[in-house]
């Protein structure tokens, strides 16, 4: 179960970005440090039951990614609290933990560690991972020679090995080819059957309509609507 209470994220955007010590000191002397307040999220509260698959929609900049980052504990909320039962696995961006100079296999160890998998676990699952990614012959190839689709497949293949209860997914199918998306969806369907909770942020309304029980609509950092997917999507199309 996920419970969020009044989550607010405030970004202070300096009118003039000061990145050096010199500029900052100068700014203090001139007393000119002014900021623009930008609320990426404002008083967001919701509850998600165990085993639910919830869609997260909204225009660009409405706060979808920020919300997922906060729930993944990558970003700290300015105000508000939340609780998540069970282990959380953020799938916010494929391939970010990869390194081009390492081989596919070495990358799996590294990325596995970042995702919380021990070297031993990764070693046991290597065949499964490469098979799922359809990259059996490329184990020892340097990642810089991979296409972006191949990298995405590899990343997804290892991500799904993490044994977590909650998945936070942010628009990760955009990179793969047409065979990749159904493969991902199949995994999510299986997860749903296993009783895992999934939050799925996407602009792909058809997929959301098909798989999500309920959907959150974010608008300018606030929850505009949270309810049955069909209703929310109908409303979303009118604005």
């Amino acid at each position: 179960m996920i419970k969020a209470r009044g989550i607010t994220k405030l970004y202070k955007i300096p009118h003039e970005r000061r990145t050096t010590l010199f500029e900052t000191l100068l700014g203090y002397v001139k007393n000119q440090l002014s900021y623009e307040d930008l609320y990426a999220l404002q008083d967001v509260s919701f509850e998600i039951r165990r085993g639910e698959m919830v869609g997260l929609i909204g225009k660009n900049g409405s706060g979808k990614t920020t919300l997922l980052k906060i729930l993944s504990r990558i970003v700290l909320p300015t105000h508000g609290t939340f609780t998540i039962e069970g282990r959380v696995s953020p799938l916010l961006s494929l391939s970010v933990g990869f390194h081009g100079e390492l081989t596919a296999l070495e990358n799996l160890y590294l990325y596995g560690a970042i995702l919380g998998l021990s070297r031993k676990t990764v070693r046991q699952k290597i065949n499964t991972i490469f098979e799922f990614a359809g990259l059996e012959r490329f184990e020892d190839m340097k990642l810089k020679n991979f296409s972006s689709g191949m990298i995405a497949r590899l990343a997804f293949a290892i991500m799904v090995q993490t044994d977590s209860d909650v998945l936070l997914v942010d628009e990760i199918f955009a990179v793969g080819d047409k065979d990749f998306k159904p493969k991902c969806i199949a995994v999510f369907e299986e997860y749903k059957k296993m009783g895992k909770t999934i939050i799925f942020a996407s602009h792909d309304l058809d997929t959301i309509a098909e798989y999500c029980d309920r959907t959150i609509l974010l608008h300018e950092g606030k929850i505009e609507m949270f309810g049955k997917t069909k209703k929310v999507l109908e409303y979303y199309k009118t604005i």
Binding site: T19, T20, L21, F22, T24, K69, S72, R73, I74, V75, L76, V88, P90, L92, S93, V96, G97, H99, E101, L102, E106, Y109, L110, G112, A113, I114, L115, G116, S118, R119
Partner: protein
């Protein structure tokens, strides 16, 4: 427990990555780790021994021990700043403690330090020197040095993340500290009136004690060692507090 083993695993893999990347595609590979301190040794030796006629027995050994300790401190703190910047995209997208990145960098530097230390001891024995029981205190000094490096990195990394020009400031500071540490000259040459400030430099304290323990076969006074430990403990815990408070939020703003 599970969390700790996960962090350790991440730290291990990241330092492996650093190691592979550093030596990948370089012909001499690991050998560079030896070359750098030895070139530094050669330059300083010629200038100070041949030109300035420094009168220190076994000067090359004297110099090299200082250089090995100094390079560990200087390289590890500089690398921590760079590695957090290099891994910022990762930290912004994955729930990875910034601490793990700093720790993995320092561990990587630590291996380099050990390798050069081995080279030092080879030279040490070849030149006919011998160790005494006092050498055991060196192990404790290494622990202090690592703690000092962690503490210092915890302080400078957030500063570097916030202020891009802090890298230059740290370079200048390191250069100052290099000369404020008895690396090429004897500590006894420092005038009395500077001594109070001079001895605040924990690197200087470690270098002096290490030389005494290894080259001159006597252990530091317990009181002095306690002061060194206290100074480093203060730096370590202030650093830890600063890093804990600002590490995360600064990464968001990079």
């Amino acid at each position: 427990m599970k969390k700790i083993s996960r962090y350790l695993n991440v730290i291990y893999e990241l330092s492996r990555l650093d190691f592979k990347l550093k030596y990948y595609g370089s012909v001499l590979g690991l050998f560079w780790s030896f070359l750098k301190p030895f070139f530094m040794l050669a330059i300083l030796y010629v200038v100070f021994y041949e030109f300035l006629k420094v009168n220190i027995e076994n000067y090359q050994i004297y110099l090299l021990l200082g250089i090995v300790i100094w390079n560990f401190f200087a390289d590890a703190t500089k690398d921590s700043m760079q590695s957090i910047m290099a891994k910022a995209p990762l930290l912004q997208k994955i729930n990875l403690p910034p601490f793990a990145v700093v720790a993995s960098t320092i561990i990587h530097s630590f291996w380099t330090f050990l390798i050069t230390l081995v080279a030092f001891f080879v030279l040490f024995f070849v030149s006919g020197s011998q160790l005494a029981w006092s050498a055991f205190i060196f192990l404790y000094l290494i622990v202090l040095l690592v703690a000092l490096i962690f503490g210092t990195s915890f302080l400078v990394v957030p500063l570097y993340m916030r202020f891009k020009d802090f890298g230059h400031i740290w370079d200048i500071f390191l250069q100052m500290l290099f000369w404020a540490t008895p690396l090429v000259y004897q500590y006894s040459l420092v005038p009395e009136k500077y001594l109070r400030w001079y001895l605040l430099n924990p690197v200087a304290r470690i270098v002096v004690d290490a030389r005494n323990a290894i080259l001159y076969h006597f252990t530091p006074e317990p009181k002095q060692l306690l002061i060194t430990t206290a100074v480093i403990a203060v730096i370590f815990f202030i650093g830890l507090a600063v890093f804990k408070k600002y590490g995360r939020t600064l990464i968001e703003e990079l």
